[in-house]
Amino acid sequence: MDKSILLKVRNLKKTFIKKSGTFLKRKKTEVYAVNNVNFEVKQGEILGIIGESGCGKTTTARMVMRLMKETEGEISFEGVNLCNLKESETNKIRKKMQMIFQDPYDTLNPGMRIHDILMEPINAHEKDLPYETKYRKVIEAIEAIELKPAEDFINRYPHQLSGGQRQRIAIARAIILKPSFIAADEPTSMLDVSVRAGILNLLLDLRKKMGLTMMFITHDLSTASYMCDRIAVMYQGKIVEIGPTKKIIQHPSHPYTKALVAVVKDLNYFIKNREKLILDGEVDSTKEEKGCPFVARCPHKEAACHTQVPELEDVDKGHSVSCHCHTELLEKTS
């Protein structure tokens, strides 16, 4: 089984230091952006990471992509621990792992033509190839993302493309080196709903053709359930529930997941159980770790929730949740 695991994240932590107070009474508080995250991505699967804004999903992706240094933890990709690599070695690994960013209006340099934008990854890793080969790769990549005819697009500037087309170009840039792993950071959240499905289907299509493994970050449960084989739900820097998409959607065990699912699934159920489901209260990631991170907003809290930090426990094969009361909750709903 270990052989098929492409990416493995162990005890990943990221803290930011918040300075406050005046010169003499300076206080440094640690803010947890990502707190003890563990997950694995198997060869060929799409792992969804969902959660609200600021829950640490993008930070996790940025650490995996080595755009940010982790505070603690271990990330291994194809058996290589990425955390101890030097900059030059990291750059070599980057050939195999690419990222698709959220904002297609921001990630393409407005002063560069599509040709130059797509040449950039090739020049970074396969500079010595003859120009004809490089050019053919660029054309192939544009064709792979279904912008036809490719020659029409090659000399355009990003501002001559629509949002959907730009995101396709960003995808082309990510797949042009034929990587084995792609992290997609909310690739459809800035796009019109009408274009979204096209981009999602393109990603699924590419995955089938190229055998891509993906980490798909989103805040939208319906997108995640469409795309992903497994889903990890993050809350305040922690994974609160992880499991196969079907199980997460049909039998959500954590109260936070339940709330998310309820909103998407059935508006009537949401209206009826409003009190139980509504997520209230302040989010404060600076306070010390004491009890469940969700306790302030949880409708089912018990005494233990305030004092003990819940660990991820298996509820089913491949489905784990970190909640003290999940067994009772399961009984209640079924």
């Binding site: 992509m65 080595r66 755009l67 990291t90 750059n91 070599k92 980057r94 050939k95 690419q98 990222m99 960013f101 904002d103 921001d106 990630t107 393409l108 340099n109 407005p110 002063g111 560069m112 950039e120 990854p121 020049n123 970074a124 890793h125 500037y157 501002h159 001559q160 960003a170 840039r173």
Partner: protein
């Protein structure tokens, strides 16, 4: 799109009266500098008349203390003033870009160190220091250039740093990093193009400063004695008592006016360039 962008810049520049005026002034001075041998009636270093002659039909601005034609001196002086201004500005912008980009991109301790250095250079009372430097390393064309550049790289560096700070948070810079592009390529392809327009406007403003500084140094007698700039002419006028006699009208006033006009030319062009780069300053027309 790049061509369109420059066309648009050109439109803003020329639709702005002040900018157009500045640009025309600069072109005129450039022509004077280039055509000095044709325009000047005499060799500026030859004794062509009696000393201290008043303006007449032969010597339009009279002659100086050794009988050289002041008009010819002024025309040739344009070359020196312009050249020193432009070269010094170019060097200081180059230095400013380097420091600004390194400081802005790398951040952290490098940034802190370089910016404190900039602070230091900015708060030094520059005229006394320059006099000291110029006197210490001796008066020559390149020494003057060096002294001016050493003083004036700091404020462009700060402006460019702030531009780099905004550029480096752009998605495409981050994307380039995640692709694995190495740092020199990132700086060259993604950061530098965004910095160039700002550097250009800073260059024009720096040139106007450099010309003023050169004039002040030369006026104090610290200029190159073998290549007479406008400042040097003023120095001799002052040394020979022209300020106290009627001679100030043709010996002191013309170089003074020329310096002022050239500086205004650069400053106006610079301001309208800034307007191009900072669309919020643009007036609705």
């Amino acid at each position: 799109m790049v061509n369109q962008k420059w066309k648009k810049y050109w439109q803003v520049l020329t639709s702005n009266n002040i900018g157009l005026f500045g640009l025309i002034l600069l072109v005129i001075f450039l022509l004077i500098a280039l055509l000095a041998p044709i325009l000047a009636p005499f060799d500026p270093s030859a004794r062509v008349g009696d000393p201290f002659m008043k303006p007449n039909s032969q010597f339009l601005l009279g002659t100086n203390d050794v009988g050289q034609d002041i008009l010819s001196e002024l025309l040739y002086g344009t070359r020196i003033s312009l050249l020193i201004g432009v070269i010094a500005a170019f060097i200081s912008i180059l230095l400013g870009c380097l420091v600004g980009i390194i400081s802005g991109y790398y951040g952290g301790k490098t940034d802190a160190f370089l910016m404190r250095l900039v602070d230091l250079v900015l708060v030094i009372p520059f005229l006394p220091l320059m006099i000291l430097l110029a006197a210490f390393i001796g008066p020559s064309f390149w020494n003057i250039v060096l002294v001016i550049s050493l003083i004036s790289w700091a404020s462009p560096a700060r402006v460019i740093r702030s531009q780099v700070l905004t550029l480096k948070t752009k998605g495409y810079v981050e994307a380039a990093k995640s692709i694995g592009t190495n740092i020199t390529v990132i700086l060259g392809r993604h950061i530098l193009p965004g910095v160039i327009p700002i550097a250009l406007s800073q260059f024009v403003l720096a040139a106007s400063h450099s010309i003023l500084i050169e004039a002040s140094l030369s006026f104090l007698g610290l200029g190159d004695p073998f290549t007479k700039s406008w400042g040097t002419i003023l120095y001799y006028a002052q040394a020979r008592g022209a300020f106290l006699t009627d001679a100030w009208i043709w010996w002191v006033l013309p170089p003074g006016l020329l310096i002022t006009t050239l500086v205004i030319g650069f400053a106006f062009t610079g301001y309208s360039l800034e307007e191009i780069l900072n669309p919020r300053l643009r007036k609705e027309r």
